[in-house]
């Protein structure tokens, strides 16, 4: 600690150079935060996907519907505990920019299969008593300032009423939450029986996909094969896969998100390493004489190494922390796309990795100048004063 003042003063020697270097690190770490949040938004569902859940969809395409009668058939298959379904509704609230997921579900079974979200008992009771009732996640409730008792109009181009009206009005009867921050709490869920009764004739008795809860996750492959086998050679053959793989495949439609993010970050941090390393090397080179003086008055080689490394670490960690902090603040304001990235959060693990990268950057950019300072011959250095 007693060397901190000296290290700090050395860092502040060339204020413009230090400021520009700090700024480049800050910007790089803000970018890091945003890329992590985008990756989380796109592939984060894989992490929260239940190991004991399978997704059953039409074998050809997810846009093809499956009969609602498959539920009972699936629940008879050994290893299946419960099956529930959802259907893509594809609506928006007031404006197309207010896009978020709204799906018709079977209230009780849906919550049984998804224990990571919770709804107070009295709100579930109210939902079961209200055919036009809907429950909404905390995030959307806060975003649109919805309260229990509100009537919410949702417009969908896919499912008009049988009379052609595209607007569905739901009564908000509950607001669900999740203890896991990574869980998306933007969707709105409403009752399938109301949906099926009100939609046009062409889709009646059909659903989008099933989520199947299995008794033993280690038997997932076997159960998935049994489900697909059950519906083989039927007009609606199925494709069953673990929920994680389903989410992963969904995200992969854009590309290998993780690889893309890692490639961008690798390029950014490599460039940053060159910038910071050059700044540190220059800083050490131009004070060779002063380093010689410090050695002359008794600073050891190890202390010289430590001081230059500490300077580089201080710069990288300080700017990295600032960048990560700013990224955290900006990302905390929520999805910047207005609904396309509902799980837009900066995961704590990525934040910790960010601090690690900052420290690594400080070390890597400082180690060569530090070794140079350590090896400096005093008599030679003093001649350069």
């Amino acid at each position: 600690m007693k060397f901190l003042h000296l290290i700090w003063r050395n860092l502040m020697r060339k204020k413009l150079r230090t400021s520009l270097t700090l700024l480049s690190i800050v910007v790089a770490f803000i970018l890091f935060g945003f890329l992590c949040a985008i990756r989380q938004a796109l592939v984060g569902g894989v992490e929260v996907a239940g190991r004991d859940r399978l997704i059953v969809r039409d074998k050809v395409s997810i846009i093809n519907l499956l009969p609602v009668t498959y539920k009972q058939k699936m629940e008879r298959i050994p290893g299946v505990e419960l099956a529930t379904h959802q259907t893509w509704f594809g609506g928006h609230y007031q404006d197309t920019r207010n896009f978020f997921m709204q799906n018709p579900v079977e209230p009780e079974d849906f919550f049984k299969v998804h224990p990571e979200i919770s709804l107070p008992k009295e709100q579930m009771k109210a939902w079961l008593e209200t055919r036009t009732g809907a429950v909404v996640g905390r995030k959307s409730a806060e975003k649109y300032n919805w309260k229990i008792g509100d009537k919410v109009p949702i417009l969908t181009p896919i499912w008009p009423h049988s009379d052609g009206d595209q607007t569905w009005t739901f009564d908000i009867v509950g607001i669900y939450d999740s203890t896991d921050k990574r869980t998306d709490t933007t969707p709105l869920f409403f009752r399938y029986d109301y949906f099926d009764e009100t939609r046009p004739n062409w889709g009646k008795g059909q659903v989008g996909w099933y989520t199947v809860k299995i008794k033993d996750p280690s038997q997932a492959v076997k159960v998935a094969a049994a489900i697909d086998s059950e519906f083989e050679n039927s007009p609606n053959e199925t494709k069953t896969e673990p929920e994680g793989a389903f989410v992963q495949a969904w995200a992969s439609q854009i590309g290998d998100i993780t690889l893309i993010v890692e490639a961008i970050l690798a390029a950014v941090f490599f460039t940053l390493l060159l910038v910071t390393g050059n700044a540190m090397a220059q800083a050490v080179r131009e004070r060779t004489g002063e380093l010689g003086v410090l050695k002359a008055i008794g600073f050891s080689n190890g202390q010289m190494l430590g001081m230059v490394l500490a300077e580089s670490l201080l710069m990288a960690v300080l700017a990295g922390s600032l960048g990560l902090g700013l990224a955290w603040m900006m990302i905390s304001r929520g999805d910047p796309t207005g609904g396309l990235l509902p799980m837009f959060v900066f995961p704590v693990t990525d934040l910790v990795i960010g601090f690690g990268i900052a420290a690594l950057l400080g070390f890597a950019s400082g180690i060569f100048p530090a070794v140079q300072a350590m090896r400096l011959r005093v008599a030679d250095a003093l001649r350069r004063m």
Binding site: K2, F3, H5, L6, R9, N10, M12, R13, G289, E290, V293, L294, K295, A296, I297, G298, F299, S300, N301, G302, Q303, R377, V378, A379, L382, M385
Partner: protein, 234 residues
């Protein structure tokens, strides 16, 4: 003071020292079979023309460089063979350096410059501050402690340099042309300060070109072509 002395009459004993530098394929002999003894409390002026090896000799005595052959014994310890870590600790404890161009750190105030050698000790911040105030008091700069060195005159900067050299109370003070960059008045003040420190028991070895400066010393020796002579070379 040094704990052990091989010969109690001498603080510095240099025996058969050669120093060669290599420049490309060429070997340049700077000091040749040099012998020198300095008693505790002496104020020795080391004079000679440029390139005679004065600064090289001072660097050897201060453990900043190592001889090609021979021994450099300070207080009974052969600094020529000390490992670098031990040598650094030895310098911090026993030697104070005063440089011609002051060699102060421009990013630090006068008091922070003087404090530098104390950072290598186990003293607390308060204790370090006390020592710094005392050292700056000795050189007459108590009123300039918070000033950055660039705002000080040359004479004042050299005083800060001397305060830094004496703040750990070293036995040996090595001065390389301490008045070389100062006008006569400021130079005289620095010499008076060095005489006062010598009067308090400090052993001082001073390299100088200036015969006037050498008059402040209790003994003057001359270096010529890497060897000592008692008379000024022609």
């Amino acid at each position: 003071m040094f704990g052990v002395m091989s010969d109690s009459n001498f603080l510095v004993q240099i025996k058969g020292v050669d120093k060669m530098f290599h420049r490309g394929s060429e070997d340049i002999s700077v000091l040749r079979d040099l012998n020198l003894n300095v008693r505790p409390g002496e104020f020795l002026a080391l004079m000679g023309p440029s390139g005679s090896g004065k600064s090289t000799l001072l660097n050897l005595i201060g453990g900043l460089d190592q001889p090609t052959h021979g021994t450099v014994s300070i207080g009974g310890e052969n600094v020529a063979t000390m490992p670098s870590r031990q040598l650094a600790a030895w310098r911090a404890r026993h030697v104070g350096f005063v440089f011609q161009l002051y060699n102060l750190l421009p990013t630090l105030t006068a008091e922070r410059n003087v404090e530098l050698p104390l950072l290598l000790t186990h003293l607390s911040r308060a204790e370090r501050r006390k020592h710094v105030e005392a050292a700056l008091g000795v050189v007459g700069l108590s009123h300039r402690t918070r000033h950055y060195t660039r705002t000080l005159s040359g004479g004042e900067q050299q005083r800060v340099g001397i305060a830094r050299a004496i703040v750990t109370d070293p036995t040996l003070l090595l001065c390389d042309e301490p008045t070389g960059d100062l006008d006569r008045k400021a130079g005289d003040e620095i010499l008076a300060l060095l005489r006062a420190l010598n009067g308090q028991g400090k052993t001082i070895i001073m390299v100088t070109h200036d015969p006037h400066a050498s008059h402040s010393a209790t003994r003057t020796i001359y270096l010529n072509k890497g060897q000592i002579s008692d008379t000024m070379p022609e």
